[in-house]
Amino acid sequence: MPKPLLSVEGVEAGYDDVRVLKSCSLEVRGGEFVALVGPNGAGKSTLLKTITGLLPVKAGTIRLDGERTDGLPPYAIAARGVALIPEGRRLFAPLTVLENLELGAFLPRAESQQEETLRLIFQLFPTLREKVSVPAQVLSGGEQQMLALARGLMARPRLLCLDDPFLGLARAVTNRFCQAIREIMAEGMTILAAGQHVRQLLRLANRAYLLEEGRVVLSGPGAELLKDERLRRSLIELIPGADQTMR
């Protein structure tokens, strides 16, 4: 079996005195789409923030392509090819679409390929090309999410992490988005996505992990997990309206 691109082993992490992740382990292999599902507060966002260095690792190891990345600052982890599209998009609101994209290509390796990446991104999201000189804050929610994804892609990452990518998007926009993600996958991108939209995520996923109270309690192929009774129970009990998202 090939070496995993990302391997998380026994990681504990959290905020100040609150330990959110309790011995969390998972793997993402090159070219996979791995979904991370679970109820609110299970630690999905915390795990993504820990992988990208925004939160410190208190115990355990994180390896990217076999090399330890735990303990490195976020910019160094980004330089090794990990990008995160954070929850709430975190665009540079007063800056234009193009300025946001250019900042996405801040890393020297990405900067040298900037023109080419921009061309690919405008192919993927033609709307962004029409709005290059518009400030990010006046875009619609769907366009902002596109820009957030595009800004992450500008860094030419090896591993793309998505935190709740479909949050607050209309159904039509979500479908358009899933299509874009499939196109990115076809180019060979590796994705680790967390979120509440269990059905959409599991349909995209090659494999999935169910997180509960900071631990992986279930893992397997996306389609299989979608049928799993424990997943249904865990999500339906804890998220209001989850039964609608599930069916």
Partner: protein, 289 residues
Amino acid sequence: MSSHTFVQALLSGILLGCFYAVMALGFSMILGVTRALNLAHGDLIILGGYLGYWLWSGSGLHPLLLVPVAGAALLPLALLCQWLFQRLPEPKELSSLMLTFGLSLLLQNFMLGLWRGEYRIIASEPLTASVRVGSLVLNQGRLIVAAAALILVAALYLGLTRTRWGRAVRATSLDREAAALLGINVDEATRTTFLLAFGLSGGAGVLFATLHYLYPAGGIEVTLLAIVLTIWAGAGRLRSVLLASILLGVIETLTLTWSGPRWRELVVALMLLGSLLARSGGLARSRSR
């Protein structure tokens, strides 16, 4: 008021505004990038002024030549403050108030010890003359100070928008976490900001000392001016700070010409209050994401 007096007051106001901008920019930059209110800001400017005065009275050099010297002299202090700032506990908005208030007291007493309480000014011959443009009379010192201020603002603006480190500073001031995720070393960007802001303040101090008397506790007024202008303009927005400063300078000068010194401060205060109410605060708005 005749149109001639109006134009004269307008021009003097613009010159005054440029001077205000260079007084406020360092403060605004540090607030934008670190969310820290630097209460020692004015004291840094006075310190720069004293250094300029000391060098000028010793060497007789043109004061403008001393602007970069005084700026460079404050750089080690910038590194020290950034080092201390990094070690402050969260929330830094509050703990930095304690740090910078303490620094302010230290600097004031340091200056009191070195230069006593006497009033000093750089009374340089080439800066006190008047220039006639048609029928308008402008103070040459103010003209030179305004030009120097504009050059500093322009250089800073170009640096922040056209260079790699400038883009890092800008992104960090807009969203620290998002910037870090894009591979930007936000600690380094913070250090760059401290260096730029302190250097700018040291240089601005020399300009200050050519127009106003220096005394060790004089920094408080400058800090207040910087706070007012920054709140008005929105933290870390260079162009808005320049615009707000010029507007303030013009309104101040017009009120002065119109009604004499009695109404100046009242009109300025009312105008600031009114504009803050009208647009619900530049500071608050620039903080929301």
